[in-house]
Amino acid sequence: MNSNLRKRQRAFSTLILGALISASLVSVAADENVTPSAQEKKSVTKPVETAPPTQTRRPREKSFPKIASGKWTGPRLADGQPDVSGFWSNTIGNHGNLTDPQGGVIGEARRTPLGPREQRAPSRVSDPADGQFPFQPWALAKVKDFQVGFHNPTYPGHVEPNARCAPGGVPKSLYWHGYDILQYPGYVVFVFDNGSRIIHLDEKKPHLPEKLKLWNGDSRGHWEGNTLVVDVKNHNGKALFGRSGEFISENGTIQEKYIFANDGARYNYEGTFTDPTVYTRPFTITIPAIKYTKAEETDGWNLEARWAKHTGKTQILEHDERICHENNGGFGLGSAQK
């Protein structure tokens, strides 16, 4: 190829990359509907306000339907699993705030005051009924400390691990960027923007030795009708649950239910967390999710996909490689060099 042409092409793709990164930064801020946090501000090295947003995002849900566990009447894969493969993402908000998912990051300045609580999506904590985490006093003190430190870090642990492209762990990976669910005989695989999670559908396969602690834990699961039931052990607790700083310790275990609607369009995650080191009782986190099927809905956050190039008649949705750490120079700006 003509080397000038190649240079031009490269410059062009760099431009596109830059625009994409800038746009996704704008989207991050817009998503929380508040001013960027201190952690974001610090890392921004050039003005991004002028970058045009890519696509309009689906409006955030303020409430979501309950999905009952029961029979699966939708399509199945050859091995009998309900076919739920595809691109999925959360519907009510991201990892900014667990107990008030549309209330912005705790302790952050707001452009407009928050209205009454009932106008926003419910707490992700669905049990206990008050929507609060049943922390032991020492743990609550740590969370409060994090919520202050998040805006003005004085200790490395005040940095939200996702800002370093650490894996999102359980459950944060399900309300960060959109993700891919893949299914194979014996496996359900989640591919996230920074890491993946392999769920072994063989409960006779023992968990890894207790000593091994992993960001995404070690998962064994099985299908009960429309529900994927998963037992998570070996979780290292390091990912935290979000910018509001809640966490489990490395002693925590999680019993998960992914309850799929029979039309295949959405599922609700119900994860019961048990951790006597940090909490006074088990609690449940509920996360609604929807499936994305159209490239036109690519919005730099929930979906980053395109229609594949091919001569066939059917449209095929595909996703770029998912890279985070290597390109991370403070929330995606300034590709890391050496």
């Binding site: 793709s13 992993l214 890279i323 290597e326």
Partner: protein
């Protein structure tokens, strides 16, 4: 004479009995042969795992036993590597003179500059012969390659789709494959220039193109061959070849290795006795 008696006996044996007898003999011969040469089955292509569509099914956890990642080229032992004959066809990588200078610089600085030391995506083809297991998940439309090392997952498309019209420079490139009989032929390009080919500093530019050939030698062994082309760095295309073995240990599984988190993971989660 014994021989004579045997012949006589045979002559008077009813035809039906004779048939059963030779069938038994044949069975015995097959059994004996299979005992002597248990690998005979291995060359039977019908025995390799296949998807419902009849294509070879590479699903499983794989790893090379070669020392390729230490240095693709022939090398004596050194403090940070075992000796190895290399996996480059013809011995050495045909670097352009300018690129050879860079390669030597990389080698001198390998203890700090190897991107893998930072937990970076290994790239293609390095992720194939890096000495940690990787798992292939396969459907008719694609292969998803999940390495134990690092966090990024490679997709090899097998659904007649083409390289995109507006490519980026990707860490893993863009992989489109076709079947040539039972061989998976992958065309991978649109790479960036940030990955190395091994820990000794062999490298490439963003003009790299890798054509891979994946083929079962037997149900538990894959022969992996690749041709690397990069006119910015190499004077001509060159070939590598490694063997990949299936992990058959009971309950063997990948264990995530997100090594890039090690510098800070001690600060999480909060603990009662910690600040």
């Amino acid at each position: 004479m014994n021989t004579l008696r045997l012949n006589t006996l045979q002559r008077y044996r009813p035809a039906k009995f004779k048939k059963v007898g030779s069938a038994l003999l044949l069975l015995l011969a097959v059994f004996t042969f299979s005992l002597v040469a248990p690998s005979a089955d291995a060359h039977d292509n019908k025995k390799i795992p296949r998807l419902a569509n009849g294509k070879p099914d590479f699903s499983g956890i794989w790893q090379t036993t070669s020392a390729a990642d230490y240095d693709l080229e022939p090398h004596s032992n050194r403090k940070d590597a075992p000796p190895g004959p290399g996996i480059v066809e013809g011995g050495e990588i045909p670097y352009l003179p300018k690129a050879l200078v860079q390669r030597k610089k990389n080698f001198e600085n390998r203890a700090t500059d190897d991107p893998a030391l930072k937990g970076y995506t290994l790239g293609v083809p390095r992720a194939v012969y890096y000495p940690e297991p990787f798992q292939i998940f396969q459907r008719a439309r694609d292969l998803t390659v999940v390495p134990q090392f690092g966090h990024s997952v490679r997709t090899i498309h097998t659904n007649n789709t083409e390289h995109p019209e507006d490519p980026n420079d990707w860490w893993l490139g863009d992989s489109r494959a076709k079947w040539e009989g039972d061989t998976l032929v992958v065309d991978a390009k649109h790479f960036n220039d940030k990955t190395w080919l091994d820990r000794s500093g062999n490298f490439h530019s963003d003009a790299l193109q890798v054509v891979e050939r994946w083929k079962f030698l037997d149900p538990n062994t894959i022969e992996y061959k690749a041709t690397l082309t990069d006119e910015q760095v190499f004077s001509k295309p060159w070939n590598i070849s490694v063997i990949l073995h299936r992990h058959r240990e009971k309950n063997f599984q990948l264990i995530e290795d997100y090594r890039y988190t090690l510098d800070y993971d001690q600060y999480y989660p909060p603990k009662p006795d910690q600040k």
